[in-house]
């Protein structure tokens, strides 16, 4: 019997299907890259995308020495990132400050305060550099699935710099999400309750034996594993908080403060014992609500984020939860099954996800082959569109789906495509010249006739259906043709030039359906 996770027939893995896979499991690709996936066939394409580390080894065994690759794996080991950018005062400084306070030496106090403030400014600058560096990585990586998953978990285990004000803690968390994000969920969840950024963000550094703080325990169940109100009670939160007591950090490292740990027995979700943080996590993960909740999150991120779920969608989530359980919470094989399934490629799930701002930017660059232009401008645009990396709005992460779209963000979305294609900034009126020129011809290379000419109608159809990812309404074609006609009122000039393709792309990028992937 067929069900939503039944594998797609191999013959149905055509260009549109391969493009869909690359969009969802990653950030899209050029026509050439999509065609290469079609030639590989569904299984090998999945192997290439999902088992990215194995694929890497196969491809690049010979050419790489021991130096870590800059475009995959750990991100913030490269360049000028400083783990101690926000260091505490040294004992000498502390002593000096105490003496100055004693002597009411305002000048020295002010000088030491200024140093501290300088470190805080440096920290904010480092965060800005991290934002650019991560975005650049997403644009360049040969392992798009690795970064897509990291972005998924960043929204799931959402932690905001604004609250913790420590860039290196954000960097550590980001590396953890990248390293463990395709592994097994239990390991990931345990790492999260040992993660300095998260411990600070949800106040667990103040969760002490005699004055428990419930914040982390609550969100661990409500947002990270079970879903709001799904099979736990306020009592479980209270007891869970006790299991998490003593989990804090010192400097950049996790620290277990045994003095603050409440070692008395607790009863959490019906299980009684001297549970600690890891025990609390395993107890939660044994609940059937957990795989179902994670499957639902996967579904909304990778398959469909419309406000209402179809009956097939619901069944898909149930089966995906079973699959997740069968895989002992391993993430990679679970998503591989999803990406192989008929339901994933069903017409109702094509163009059914609203691109996140990050997806919009990275996919435009990776699929149309535009120059990446200035990372700073793209980070700013992300902010204007409602997604600033390392700054999710709350512990709930980004709501996603339709919440990305309003009249203001829509203009920014349309304008960021104009910026990528033409170099015209979303703000201001200066152009980026020289090396930033965008050559759009590779998009239509395969359409050239014997003489190297391009048919206008065919070009429009091909560019639009590629950029929009599949079927395109006839009125859209007409609207684009009207533009070319408007240019060619003399009836003489019908050549497809680079500028004309760029203008077409600007119009396509302004189509409401361009916001979907």
């Amino acid at each position: 019997m067929d069900h939503p996770l039944t594998p797609l027939l191999k013959k149905d893995f055509d260009f549109a299907a391969a493009q869909h896979l690359l969009n969802r499991a990653g950030f899209g690709g050029t026509p050439q890259q999509v065609r290469a996936l079609v030639e590989l066939g569904l299984d090998d394409a999945l192997e290439l995308i999902v088992e990215f580390d194995a694929s890497d080894r196969k491809r690049t065994k010979k050419d790489e020495g021991d130096a870590p690759a800059r475009d995959r794996g750990p991100l913030f080991v490269h360049g000028d990132f400083k783990p101690d950018v926000l260091r505490e005062e040294t004992p000498e400084e502390r002593a000096e400050l105490a003496r100055a306070r004693e002597a009411k030496d305002e000048e020295t106090i002010a000088r030491l305060q200024a140093l501290r403030q300088q470190r805080e400014r440096d920290d904010r600058e480092q965060l800005a550099l991290m934002q650019k560096t991560w975005l650049q990585r997403m644009i360049e990586t040969p392992r798009p699935f690795e970064e897509k998953l990291t972005l998924f978990w960043h929204g799931h285990f959402a932690t905001g710099y604004r609250t913790i004000e420590n860039s290196w803690h954000m960097a550590i968390q980001n590396e953890t999400l990248r390293r463990l994000g395709s592994g097994d969920f239990q390991t990931l969840a345990r790492a999260i309750i040992s993660d300095p950024a998260m411990l600070r963000y949800l106040d667990n550094n103040q969760n002490r034996r005699r004055s428990p703080n419930e914040n982390l325990a609550r969100e661990l169940m409500e947002l990270f594993t079970l879903g709001e109100g799904n099979g736990y009670t306020e009592r479980d939160i209270k007891e869970g908080a006790r299991a998490l007591t003593g989990r804090t950090y010192r400097g950049n490292d996790y620290y277990f403060d045994r003095q603050q740990f409440d070692s008395a027995p607790k009863t959490i979700l019906g299980r009684t014992g001297n549970l600690d943080g890891d025990g609390f996590v395993s107890t939660i993960l044994e609940r059937p609500e957990c795989p179902r909740f994670i499957a639902w999150k996967f579904y909304r991120f990778f398959v469909n984020d419309a406000p209402t779920l179809s009956p097939e969608g619901k069944e898909c989530i149930e089966r995906l939860a079973d699959e997740f359980r069968r895989n002992d919470g391993r993430i990679r094989p679970t998503l591989r099954t999803l990406f192989r399934s008929r339901h994933f490629y069903a017409p109702e799930n094509r163009l059914a996800v609203v691109k996140s701002p990050t997806q919009l930017v990275v996919q435009t660059i990776r699929s149309l082959g535009t120059p990446p232009r200035e990372m700073k401008s793209l980070v700013d645009a992300g902010d204007l569109m409602g997604q600033q990396l390392f700054q999710p709005p709350s512990v709930k992460g980004w709501d996603g789906g339709r919440s990305w779209i309003n009249t203001a963000t829509l203009f920014v979305r349309q304008n960021v495509v104009v910026y990528l294609v033409t170099g015209r900034r979303p703000k201001g009126f200066d152009w980026n010249e020289s090396e930033m020129k965008y050559d759009s011809f590779p998009l239509v290379a395969h359409l050239r006739d014997g003489q190297g000419g391009l048919d206008a109608h065919e070009t429009i159809r091909a560019v639009a259906s590629f950029a929009l990812g599949g079927s395109i309404a006839s009125e859209r074609i007409e609207q684009l043709e009207r533009f070319l006609d408007g240019l060619d009122q003399t009836g003489r000039e019908t050549a497809i030039t680079n500028d004309r393709i760029k203008a077409l792309l600007c119009l396509i990028g302004a189509m409401p359906e361009y916001q979907l992937c």
Partner: protein, 426 residues
């Protein structure tokens, strides 16, 4: 071009009775349709005055309350601020405060002269010593506390919750507008999301500047929502609707700001923001809450000059805004609140500046306010770790704006019962 054929208004006028749409069309379409018909009395909720507007002006960085509303009657003020204190009112001059209330010994910073004239006309309520328990001296956290209206600084914004509580479960396009780079947390609801734009010239498609031939196809693409798909609820229908809303709103906003304002505004950032807001109010946008911001109040050093410049900018923006509203005949519809995330330390520091403090005054401005001074000035001697003790919880000011002015369920929105500070006329 902005009156091009396919606005939703025309679509509605073309014979689709609203009653028949009501069953299938999400509520916000009806609301925006009403909004666009420009009749403020057509509220979908009986009894709710759709036409009242709240404007929030945020002073970022922590405005020094003691040099804004000056307690010149208290000798302690001159002791703790030997280099920063403003003089008691007298012959006008540098550093001489303006008389606010002789009996209470309160003055206003001289740079606030335009605000003082509004005060004298009875359009200003000065709420003293506004703060909250266990003050937080971090800019971010304290601002988040003001924005969320919660002491744990968590969750949605108080203005966002106002919309959530009053919009029947569907967001209102352009219901809340921040003139600025990004919208503040205060405006983030679970349902209602704010829109923001730095300047109206950016609230449009910039691609049309590339070539004149792009304009028509662009408009055809983005206005198609009026003809097709408006009633459906697929992702594409939703996007088509929003695209049309964006075109209509952009057209209206650009047309609104293209008109010369009825009064002259100075060329400062805050004045530009308020001029845009004034233009949008004049254009009968469906917006209920506007937000403007000015930063730089973090005056740790060399405070005197800087603080005077900032306050002058504030007063010289608010005064023409108020005149503009009056000239439009909209002054009775609009109330403006001016706040900062905290005041500053009572004692000046070693750098002729002030460090992060606690309670500070809030101004509420408009013809609808109950004019005068609310509350007592916090004591300069009965301090909490060198800082003022607050007298009025900021949520009481919110309660008055939400309950008395916007006629909304303040308790529900603020998740608690905060007595109204009574800053507007009931």
């Amino acid at each position: 071009m902005y009156d091009a054929p396919f606005t939703r208004r025309l679509f509605l006028q073309r014979g689709c009775a609203l009653a028949s749409l009501a069953a299938t069309v999400p509520c916000f379409i009806e609301r925006s349709a009403f909004g666009m018909l420009g009749n403020p009395l057509l509220s979908s909720q009986p009894g709710v005055p759709d036409h009242r507007i709240l404007v929030v002006v945020q002073l970022g960085g922590g405005n020094d309350g003691l040099n804004t509303v000056v307690p010149y009657g208290d000798p302690e003020y001159f002791k703790v601020r030997p280099n920063l204190a403003l003089q008691a009112p007298g012959p006008s001059g540098n550093g001489v405060s303006l008389q606010l209330d002789q009996q209470r010994g309160l003055g206003l910073h001289p740079a606030l002269a335009p605000l003082k004239s509004l005060y004298d006309e009875g359009f200003v309520s000065v709420v003293q010593g506004v703060g909250y328990p266990n003050p937080n001296r971090s800019h971010f956290t304290s601002m988040d506390i003001w924005h969320t209206g919660r002491l744990d600084a968590k969750g949605s914004g108080w203005i966002g919750r106002y919309f959530d509580a009053t919009c029947n479960g569907t967001p209102i396009p352009e219901g809340s507008v921040a003139v600025g780079r990004t919208a503040p947390l205060a405006m983030e609801g679970n349902i209602q999301k704010p829109i923001s734009f730095e300047s109206p010239e950016l609230f449009r498609w910039l691609g049309e500047d590339l070539h004149p031939a792009l304009k028509d196809p662009y408009e055809a693409i983005n206005r198609a929502g009026a003809l097709a798909g408006t009633g459906g609820d697929t992702q594409k229908d939703f996007l088509m609707r929003t695209a049309l809303d964006a075109q209509v709103a952009s057209g209206r906003i650009l047309a609104a700001v293209a008109k010369a304002p009825l009064v002259r505004y100075p060329e400062t950032s805050l004045a530009r923001q308020l001029r845009t807001i004034g233009a949008m109010i004049r254009a009968e946008m469906p917006t209920r809450v506007y937000y403007a911001t000015i930063g730089g109040f973090d005056t740790h050093g060399g405070q005197n000059t800087r603080h005077a410049q900032l306050l002058r900018q504030v007063a010289e923006a608010i005064e023409p805004f108020q005149r503009d509203l009056k000239a439009q005949g909209n002054d009775a519809r609009v109330v403006t609140m001016v706040f900062s995330e905290f005041g500053r330390r009572v004692k000046q520091n070693g750098a002729n500046g002030t460090d992060h403090g606690t309670a500070a005054p809030v101004f509420v401005i408009g013809t609808g306010v109950k004019p005068g001074i609310v509350g007592t000035h916090p004591s300069l001697t009965d301090l909490d770790q060198g800082d003022l003790k607050y007298g009025i919880d900021f949520r009481s000011v919110y309660a008055s704006l939400l309950g008395d002015w916007m006629k909304a369920p303040a308790d529900q929105i603020l998740r608690g019962n905060f007595p109204s500070a009574g800053v507007v006329r009931a």
